[in-house]
Symmetry: D3
Subunit: 182 residues, 6 copies
């Protein structure tokens, strides 16, 4: 049995890792399929890291945490939300269960007949992607918030400098919900 | 003679219906071509309903109001405003007149040499699409604002729940004008 | 109840018209939804006429044949066959039945759970689109093959000259099947 | 160290499996990244199977052959060959070596400075994808040509019927080279 | 030797012209390649003028200023920032030097190994594109801010009326950085 | 006054150069705008050279022939022929005259109201692009067919090796006409 967990992972943080651990712990035979959403996006404030960089940081974190039974797939966006579930069904190997905190993802998969589960939250406020990006861009320490391999990888690729350049002049609240979530 | 009336119809409301009635009443032989703009968009706050759902709600409202001499065509967006009029000319059967309240649509069709008319407004403030979506998402009664068949169709497809999920955390003013209008 | 009939209608010929008549005759309450496939294509040998021109020729032929309970919708291609049925479901008003001679269309709709029917054929060989385009391009008479309103419309838009220019140096057999069919 | 092996895998056959085995045998620490090219294509003669189906058949074959140190990634085409290598660099985790039999892939990666290797061939004639598709479509036995798990998976998804429908009226020679190869 | 100078030039103003003059003055043999970014955009507040109109206004300004050794190329956006430099390398003739004030452009070209220079600024505050568009839309005099040929060309194409229609109801701060800059 | 001359220039040969010379000779004040069609295509048999390489070879040939009053613009394809003329009107600076040997280009511009001229032919058979590509791929001498600067540039970029790799197994006749011509 495969469970699908969709995110943008900008960056992959402890909250994400704990979700994977909790899914694996909760269902003995399950394989977790981590879909990297908005894979074509990079070098923007919302999506600073390329899909390849995100693949690498997830891969290192999962190996370091010794989490087998996981696979990673980059998934470019499709412009049409109404086709999104069908698009994932054709692009990915079969999955039987969906995990998400995102209400739109929840709605779209429910509508298509999938069982959808809300994994426990683990300090969501702390682990919000945009807050972590803000901290990186200001040179603040994020060791508590990301796995150690991600922390060192972000230093390796110069994440602080990249994010400082990409930070918008004034922060704006997100005004649209995306199925790829946070 | 055909007259083109472009809108996004999210949802189709009484203001829209009255525009169609007024065009039909004003020109005996005219056929009204209702173009559903942004047809590829759905499941967003600005465009919650699919083109198919919008087609269905318009179709029911026009039949209920016994308005013959109308046809409906879903029209996906084209990314380039400068090609938009030409794109509609190739996609749609010939039309000789354009009806719109949208200033950009007005500008683009004028520039292409079409007669463009501003149909009377019928309480525009009341009938603004975003205000009606806000009301639906809050579970408020919109019977006064949409045709009865649209009201029941919206209930049928669970519009209130969908809009509640799609509503942005904080409302933001629209900052760009689109030719597909409201 | 609505029945979907997909074609490219390059041009709309007597075979197409007879299919519509036969569907309407066979199911008293049915409305036929004629979807003009490859709507974005024009000025090629396979797709010489714009969607707007095809809409117009179908509209004239249906009016002339006094066939009510029909609606026409131009449908641009979507690059991915695997998403095609879902795409039509979101773009078009609900339909419950599909009519087609095309084996790929048949396969895709069957796979999605739709009842699919093969309407009777009416001299398919005579009415093949590419054969009619060849005849038009050579200035041959096609009166027997298309409805009279289509014949005169094709003269009106200079179809013979257009097709003469678009005819490939050497005819080549079609080597790929498209769901939009002939 | 990662090695990239790009193919369309329509279907995944013994020749492909032997290439993976030979790469793994030849370089102790290497991880093989199997990129499923033309991932957005399906239900055509050249690309009958969805990326998800191809992922599944590769996954089953690799597990059955007990080949660890392999990962699979579906890769949608990018229209521009000149950007293809750069596109793969951003979409995939870092790779240091490329394996291919395709001359265009060879050229593009060489030009970008990668070491490119031609893995040994294993009866290429026997294992050509189009020949295997032809055999499946004619109901012929392909047990000698594909791994046993692929053979049974193809039966499971009705490959013979699908390919029979998709087979072009007359076979045509491929006239363009694609970097995604065979 | 060619130097690349990328901008959106909405409109082309004195600040832009002075940058070109300063590059030409600083490097005797250099040819300046002005790339008109976001060439596919027009009739929006951020990009009111078509690429053709922008080409024409730049061309007139350069001729009037007698600046030889300059060429102009419209460059449509590519959705993926990570491919942007490579895309320009394939679309444009070879260039060896990049000029920009935009920090993202700077980052992307640096990462690709190009020498990137910050030309002197010439009252950047005065010459910001959005401020000039605001002034045009309010009918204010911009003679001090744009070359005389641009001023008259803008009058010729009715820029004031166009911008008045496109001006958003409430101005919003730009929240994302684009490599095409201002 | 500007005259538009559209081609793919794969490669730019003596026939192209003679057309430019003849246009310049025939109309004293004219500026020739050479639009490089299918600019996004490269590394295929029909379009082996990138737009940047084609820009460079044209630029060298025009300088060598001392042909002033010429400008070069790469033009990516637009999928829809019916929008092609409008697309060029928005992308390019204003032009008043079109030069082409291509019948489809002729048809589309005539339909849009442009004066279209057939420049004299100069041994068209000899200068056909596909024949020159064939010769290059076979290592044959093409000095008589291309300007000297193009001949040396093609050697510089390894054209013979590239074309040898891209040559299709069996040559196939072109079966579709494109407005970008030869």
């Amino acid at each position: 049995m495969r469970g699908l967990y969709v995110g943008r992972f900008q960056p992959f943080h402890r909250g994400h890792l704990e979700v994977v651990q909790s899914i694996l712990a909760g269902t003995p035979e399950i394989e977790v399929l981590l879909a990297i959403g908005s894979a074509e996006q990079a070098f923007t404030w919302e999506n600073p890291f390329t899909a390849g960089e995100r693949y690498e940081m997830i891969d290192r974190a999962l190996r370091d945490a010794k989490l087998a039974r996981t696979v990673i797939v980059p998934v470019p966006d499709i412009a049409r939300h109404a086709l999104w579930v069908r698009y994932l069904e054709e692009l990915l190997p079969p999955f039987q269960q969906v995990y998400t905190h995102n209400p739109l993802t929840h709605l779209l998969f429910k509508r298509a007949g999938y069982p959808v589960e809300n994994p426990p939250l683990f300090d969501r406020v702390l682990h919000e992607g945009s807050r972590i990006r803000e901290m990186i861009s200001r040179g603040q320490d994020i060791q508590r918030l990301v796995p150690p391999t991600v922390d060192s990888y972000l230093k390796e690729i110069g994440a602080a400098e990249r994010l400082r350049l990409l930070r918008p002049p004034r922060p704006s609240p997100p005004t649209h919900r995306q199925p790829t979530g946070d």
